[in-house]
Amino acid sequence: MALAEKVTSPQLYLQAQTRWRPVEIAFWLATLLPYVLFPNYLSLASQIAVTALFALSLDLILGYAGIVSLGHAAFFGVGAYTAGLLSKYGWGEPLTGLAMAALAAGIVGYATSFVICRFRHLALIMLTLGFGLLLTELANSAGWLTGGLDGLQGIHTWKLLGYFRFDLYGYAAYSYALAVLFALFLFARRIIHSPFGLSLRGIRENLIRMPAIGAPSRAHIRTIYTIAAAIAGIAGAVLAQTTETVSLDSLGFERSAEVVVMLVLGGTGRLYGGLVGAIIYMVARDQFSGVVPQYWYFWIGILLVAVVVFLPNGVLGGLAKIASRWSRP
């Protein structure tokens, strides 16, 4: 609100909203901390970065366009298997692997978007859920290709840029996952601050009204669904390349549900919600499962109930509320 008084031109006002805030810069600087503070946890950190990227891709459709999906892991899995298979059959170059994974997941996303864009709410949840289950069983039955329940073995990822080797310590893995996350975060940030991003928010706010202002909502939904699928595919590919294995649960229901939980924990429609949610969820799981492995879901259940009841807009929504109270005189 303070900004409104300082600037007069509406254009400058909107520009001010797209500017990087100090807290964002602090967040990204903090992602470098694991190198110094937790060098033994770099492989966990790289998995968090992958999951954060996956959650970011879900936020683009759920948080911005209001498309609730319980089958988003399908794209993650398609990306993971694409990169894994490429590598297994002789092409282990990581960056082209990412590109191919994005392409494959994007194609599957684009194909399904024609159905997705016609439905909302419960029907959409069932559709995405069914689609995810279908793909999981397909991967399961195609054991000759995917390795079935045993997972895809024999992946060998080449050195990154021909120089950095993916080793057990996870330096390269975390750096790689973090770099990919950051690059795609910049991409997502650009999307949501574009005119198209404004349309997505319009779809989330009032889908019924969109045709009455001449908006082709279905075309918009198809575009963002395809983009989100491609990003999810890249996340899957990074996991496949850094762990050098792909299992069926990379596209399973559990992963789809987990990522929704993370996003809700962090806060939807804020770009950072998925990132923060992934950090909280993965760190909590790592800590809790160390203490009482069999009861891990008990704690995540409590966490989820508490957040939904007390912080309906997620952790970030709660923080934003506190911050706005604080800044108002």
Binding site: A4, Q11, L14, N206, R209, I213, G214
Partner: protein
């Protein structure tokens, strides 16, 4: 004489056995201000829904500038200049006033397809949205979230969104619904001040406003057009008087005598 801006031929719609529109023939010449009146349940909003494509008619045709648009989806009708507003606010609660109207402008200029450039780069679109809001006296609140605005201001945003699409034919479904009388006059003054090129059809129950702002009036009863004419003809039409005096709304028809 040029072709009417909007016309319907034999438009009909049933919900089960309930006839909500039957053989509706209207012709709206360019630039004319039409009021659409009739008792509750006469099918006024249904007619707007049919014309704008929110409902599909069972029979009949809709022509915009002589082009048949009966089968076009709603968003494409809007692109051709056939635009509506809603009786109950149907807005974007968590967008600011400026963002909402900029969104509508961007959809018109097709900037809304662009995801690789930042919104502030679209100065032309933003300025246009700001000008529309200024013309409706909303510039001061343009950075407030829509849901935080006063009810009357939200009604104006309905109109601002419609204007952002650059309509040729504007269908206003009770633009002043729920607005106090004094404010509704201001609102209608804004509508009256619209470009003379725009054809306007508005649903309104307040006869004083109807007789002040409409150049012609269409009366609907039971899904049919009962009669069409100048406000004066309508006021003295015995059929219309019977419809209104026969119902609880009889008082409404007496308003114009004072006005």
């Amino acid at each position: 004489m040029s072709a009417p801006a909007l016309s319907t031929r034999g438009l009909a719609k049933k919900f089960g056995s309930l006839v909500v529109a039957s053989d509706i023939e209207i012709e709206l010449p360019q630039g004319v201000r039409y009021a659409l009146i009739g008792p509750n349940g006469a099918g006024k909003t249904t007619l707007i829904n049919l014309i704008t494509g929110m409902l599909r008619p069972d029979a009949g045709r809709i022509l915009l500038d002589d082009a048949d648009i009966t089968m076009l989806p709603p968003d494409q009708r809007v692109r051709r200049g056939l635009v509506r507003t809603y009786q109950i606010n149907s807005l974007f609660p968590h967008l600011t006033a400026l963002e909402s109207v900029t969104l509508a402008v961007c959809e018109r200029t097709r900037a809304a397809r662009i995801w690789w450039r930042q919104l502030p780069a679209y100065q032309h679109e933003i300025d246009e949205a700001y000008d529309i809001l200024s013309a409706l006296a909303l510039a001061a609140v343009c950075h407030r979230l829509t849901r935080e605005l006063a009810y009357g201001q939200q009604r104006l945003i309905e109109i601002a969104l419609a204007l952002a699409t650059q309509p040729k034919v504007l269908l206003l479904d009770e633009p002043a619904a729920g607005v106090p009388r004094e404010e509704s006059k201001e609102l209608f003054a804004a509508i009256a001040g619209l470009s003379g090129d725009i054809t306007v059809l508005f649903i309104e129950h307040d006869m004083e406003l109807v007789f002040r702002f409409a150049t012609r009036v269409i009366v609907m009863v039971g899904g049919r057009v009962l009669v069409e004419g100048t406000p004066h003809e309508i006021a003295s039409n015995p059929q219309v008087r019977a419809v209104y005096l026969g119902k609880a709304t009889g008082k409404a028809m007496q308003e114009p005598r004072h006005g």
